[in-house]
């Protein structure tokens, strides 16, 4: 059954991607890209990667689509006819594809338990991490403890991307609240949005702190919390949203998250252990690991939330500015 589902989903994915190539209306392209993200997340669920699916659904389908729509609002939705010759790109792509397919012939079989990728460190993570770290979700323990350096780097990249977008576009001024925006005429929508936004924030908190036991964690929780405020901004207008969470606070929060993460590492340094080795944070090493993971997941969540919301504010601020002119 899982194989059939996999095949059908991959087929739909290929059809969607194939259509994206030929459609000239960029708005449709972005909508299809949303479907594409949803489908790939479904495939991740089917291949047992629940955490990855969680992230792809929230980030890929949610935030990417919103940002792309914001860009389209500024740049126009029609793609002009291409002047490129299509032969050369097609040739390059076919040669690359043929080389890769030739490469896959030597790949280990799909789903084979003797695959070399499963022989090296994975057995250790699977067998020892529930005892060593004390939490059932192996992805979280690898992400936040064994490979904590890597995750620190990723968090810093997200932070840097937010800085990059801000330096390119700038944040909206806070007291420009005079412009009319938001979906004023949709009364039902406004009422329902008011009802579900608290639910979303609650769910984000659940994901943040339940990430040790089920799928979830700081990355996903940050994005979901940002999605709640993006929804608020879309329905009630950007000025209202910047009133609730001012951009100034977001800048501080984005830095604070990275600081919490790195600070946890420094604390463990002071307790005469390695950087980001949480075992010394409490008397019992397992409890120490747990404290450390909660702390750094919190840092990740705060940074991702603030960075995503900053990026959204920057794009939304641009569209509002265009509206005035």
């Amino acid at each position: 059954m899982a194989e059939i589902i996999d095949l059908v989903l991959l087929g739909m994915l290929a059809i969607t991607a194939f259509n994206i190539i030929f459609i000239k209306d960029l708005f449709t392209v972005v909508m299809l890209f949303g479907i594409y993200s949803f489908l790939s997340a479904l495939i991740f669920v089917n291949l047992d990667a629940v955490d990855v699916a969680f992230t792809e659904a929230a980030v890929g389908a949610g935030i990417s689509t919103v940002l792309m729509l914001g860009t389209l609002a500024l740049t126009g939705r029609k793609e002009k006819a291409s002047s490129h010759k299509t032969i050369l790109p097609l040739l390059v792509v076919c040669v690359t594809g043929a080389a890769l397919i030739y490469g896959t012939l030597d790949m280990p079989l799909f789903g084979d338990p003797d695959n070399p990728a499963h022989q090296h460190v994975a057995p250790r993570y699977i067998e020892d991490s529930p005892q060593e770290i004390g939490i059932p979700n192996m992805v979280t323990s690898v992400l936040a403890s064994y490979r904590a350096f890597d995750t620190l780097g990723e968090t810093a990249v997200v932070f840097a991307a937010a800085i990059g977008v801000l330096s390119l576009l700038g944040l909206p001024k806070r007291d420009r609240a005079t412009i009319q925006s938001g979906l004023k005429s949709h009364l039902v929508l406004r009422v329902v949005a008011k009802m579900i936004i608290p639910l979303i924030v609650l769910f984000a908190l659940y994901v943040q702190f339940h990430g040790d036991y089920g799928p979830g964690g700081g990355f996903q929780a940050g994005v979901i919390a940002a999605a709640a405020l993006i929804l608020y901004a879309l329905v009630f207008g950007l000025p209202m949203a910047t009133h609730v969470v001012p951009p100034r606070v977001l800048k501080a929060l984005a830095a604070l998250g990275v600081l919490i993460y790195a600070g946890t590492g420094v604390v463990s340094l002071f307790l005469s252990a390695n950087f980001l080795d949480y075992s010394v944070l409490a008397e019992d090493p397992v409890a120490g690991q747990h404290i450390g993971i909660i702390a750094i997941e919190l840092g990740v969540g705060i940074t991702v939330f603030a960075a995503m919301l900053c990026i959204f504010y920057a794009f939304a601020g641009q569209t509002e500015r265009k509206n005035i002119q």
Binding site: I43, D51, V52, G164, F219
Partner: protein, 118 residues
């Protein structure tokens, strides 16, 4: 037959990668190029996750009565890669917005006529 069953996942992933790659090099519009880049990126993610799958395995969250788990390592790598991917996409889109403001167009072939404006 078993050869196809053992490899079809990789082949479709390569196909998706080719489509994304084609959009990146053949499309004129910068926004579409970024969409293509995202398709390419997702296909790479799928490749990793396919490698991590174990037949008869289950999601790598410890539970009673389950003995085989899929490999958690690719999941970790891809989880962070997705978030970083959207962050870089955001930077790319921000650049597109600035290009639109500076040149008045996001079509690649129209920049050449406007080079003297810089």
């Amino acid at each position: 037959m078993s050869f196809i069953v053992d490899h079809y996942n990789y082949w479709i992933v390569v196909l998706l990668m080719m489509m994304g790659f084609y959009v990146v090099i053949a499309a004129n519009n910068l926004v579409k190029k970024i969409v293509g880049l995202n398709i390419f990126q997702t296909s790479v993610f799928m490749m990793y996750i396919s490698i991590g799958k174990v037949n008869g395995g289950s999601a790598p969250i410890a539970a009673e009565g389950i003995t085989t788990y899929s490999n958690p390592l690719p999941h970790v790598l891809i989880l962070t890669a997705i978030v970083v991917g959207v962050a870089t996409t955001a930077v790319g889109l921000a650049l597109v917005v600035r290009i639109k403001r500076a040149y008045g167009t996001v079509e690649e072939n129209e920049f050449e006529d406007k080079e003297d404006l810089i």
